[in-house]
Amino acid sequence: MTMGWLSPEEWDAVRLSLSVSLRAVAVSLVPAVFIAWLLVRGRFPGRVLLDALVHLPLVVPPVVVGWGLLMLFGVRGPIGAPLLEWFGVRLVFTSEAAALATAVMSFPLIVRAVRLGIEAVDPGLEATARTLGAGRFDTFLTVTLPLMSPGILAGAVVAFAAGLGEFGAVITFASNIPGETQTLPLAIYTATQTPGGDAIAARLAGISFALALAGLLLAELIARRMHRLLGRG
């Protein structure tokens, strides 16, 4: 397969995919860490329900998630209408919408990875920090967070790699606008629907493949480094 030079439109799709996925991870990382922490260490009624809700995007068809977002954030939706009225923000059909849809879809992936990271932290170390004079939040920041950081990083990288390929939710909520919401998978889809677009589709598919692979390798590399840094062999 030859890579050749990309047209400006194709470059746009690559850049947009990277930017959308990065923003999606940035938006969902902090809430995901908080939710994962609640799910592992929290003792409250409704924990099982929260767990199910978080995992919903994994099992619900992406188109349905996109439709749900459209209903909520559309210009006449319960969130979209006030946003437009009070802040003049119109989300639908923008790259922010693509990022939001991607964030919702990849949220369970991050939560799962962070959760594994927290479960690897010995509660005995947290208890020890408390006896040494650290309060709950202090303990979380200085002991729990550094020790779960491999999980956070792994979650972020996997979510980023998966986010590059989000299709159904993005096309439903943000539509397929070249240069604005047409990410890599959308561009590939468009190319396959265009007569003579096979070469373009192949090039973009190759890039998709390479980016995803690079992401996963990077995740593995970071995980190993972190484990060594944390003294777990």
Binding site: G124, R130, T131, L132, G133, D138, G231
Partner: protein
């Protein structure tokens, strides 16, 4: 002074804890008992790492926990330094950062040893830049001890700090604990199921079994009692405080003086004047009704038979022997008592086959 009364029932297994005791405001109080007797639970309750169903924990004039008034001081404000069995060093921090973790969080104005002093005391200067993962078990335990000390605690809690170590590592850490004990001021609550650690470190003993306190008091007093499960152990016997009297390098002997007499033991390294404690096991003490002759045993002491009490089995008895103001226990068969016609008040010779000195033990 730590005063504690707790009751707690664990949902799983139905294990019930119901204890009350007081620990003096200085010295080492050992919580001693078989595993599963509730020692560690008591320690966790004092540290604030678990909340008992009911009870009260007070230290000096301050209340750490009181179920009746709903007081529960969180662990970070109890100022209890804890040393756990598995060291629990923070793996992502260097040894130096581990040591400073508690130090930087100690209340301003809290008195205590500085970093250099503690590093010196524990001999860990060479380890400061290392990660906990690269330390041996003994080194880890010393760093954990230093970290707890540097948090400027008002009470040091130790949960079987030597149990995870092999004999050589144990011998490496124990002197540091003894040195720490010698520095007055910091009371220590020490959980263990090893009698040699009690002998080497404890001033006060709290004897636990199945979630209850069997007896509590000075170690020497409890060791001389024959009605406690301690007496059924192979190493049952009295603990005698003594001073290193003199060394005789030519004969390879050291004289240990105690109230009422002295023991000769193989040459010790301790300087004359050092204070220590020996354990004289009841099964290592025999008696003779006439002055024995031709024995290899070094220590033959004139004694008076004070009392004959029930032994660990129906066929055995304990003899309580008075050597001056000091009491020795001897474990003999019922048959020997009959055969020799032993009766209280009788003058005897106590033949002491072995004297355990502090840690490790020596024979004489």
């Amino acid at each position: 002074m730590l005063s504690l009364s707790l009751s707690h029932r664990f949902a799983d297994g139905g294990f019930a804890l119901d204890v009350a005791f007081e620990a003096p405001g200085a010295g080492v109080t050992a919580l001693f008992g078989p595993s599963g007797c509730g020692k560690t639970t008591i320690l966790s309750a004092v540290a604030g790492l678990m909340r008992p169903a009911s009870g009260r924990i007070g230290r000096g004039g301050e209340v750490l926990f009181d179920s009746s008034s709903g007081i529960f001081v969180p662990p970070e404000r109890r100022r209890c330094g804890v040393v756990f069995q598995e060291a629990r060093l923070f793996p992502h921090l260097s040894v130096a950062a581990n040591l400073r973790y508690g130090l930087s969080r100690a209340p301003t104005g809290a008195e205590g040893p500085g970093l250099e002093e503690v590093v010196d005391l524990l001999g860990i200067a060479a380890l400061l830049a290392r990660r906990p993962g690269r330390l041996s078990g003994g080194e880890r335990q010393r760093v954990a001890l230093g970290r707890a000390l540097l948090s400027r605690p008002r009470l040091l809690l130790m949960d079987e700090p030597l149990a995870a170590l092999d004999l050589a590592r144990k011998a490496e850490v124990l002197p540091f604990l003894a040195r720490l004990r010698a520095r007055a001021g910091l009371p220590i609550l020490y959980v263990t199921h090893a009698l040699d650690e009690v002998d080497a470190l404890a001033d006060t003993l709290v004897l636990l079994e199945a979630g209850r306190v069997l007896a509590a008091g000075p170690v020497e007093a409890l060791a001389a009692r024959t009605d406690l499960p301690l007496a059924a152990r192979r190493d049952a016997g009295v603990l005698i405080g003594c001073v290193v009297g003199a060394h005789d390098a030519r004969r390879g002997l050291t004289r240990l003086d105690f109230a009422g007499g002295s023991f000769l033991v193989p040459l010790r390294a301790e300087a004359p004047g050092s204070v220590g404690r020996v354990r004289v096991r009841a099964r290592d003490v025999a008696v003779a009704i006439a002055p024995p002759a031709g024995l290899s045993v070094q220590n033959i002491l004139p004694a008076t038979l004070a009392e004959i009490v029930a032994g660990p089995s129906p066929h055995e008895a304990f003899l309580r022997l008075a050597v001056g103001p000091t009491t020795l226990l001897s474990r003999v068969t019922r048959d020997s008592v009959q055969r020799l016609g032993l009766r209280p008040g009788q003058a005897l010779w106590a033949v002491v086959k072995a004297v355990g000195f502090g840690f490790g033990g020596a024979t004489g």
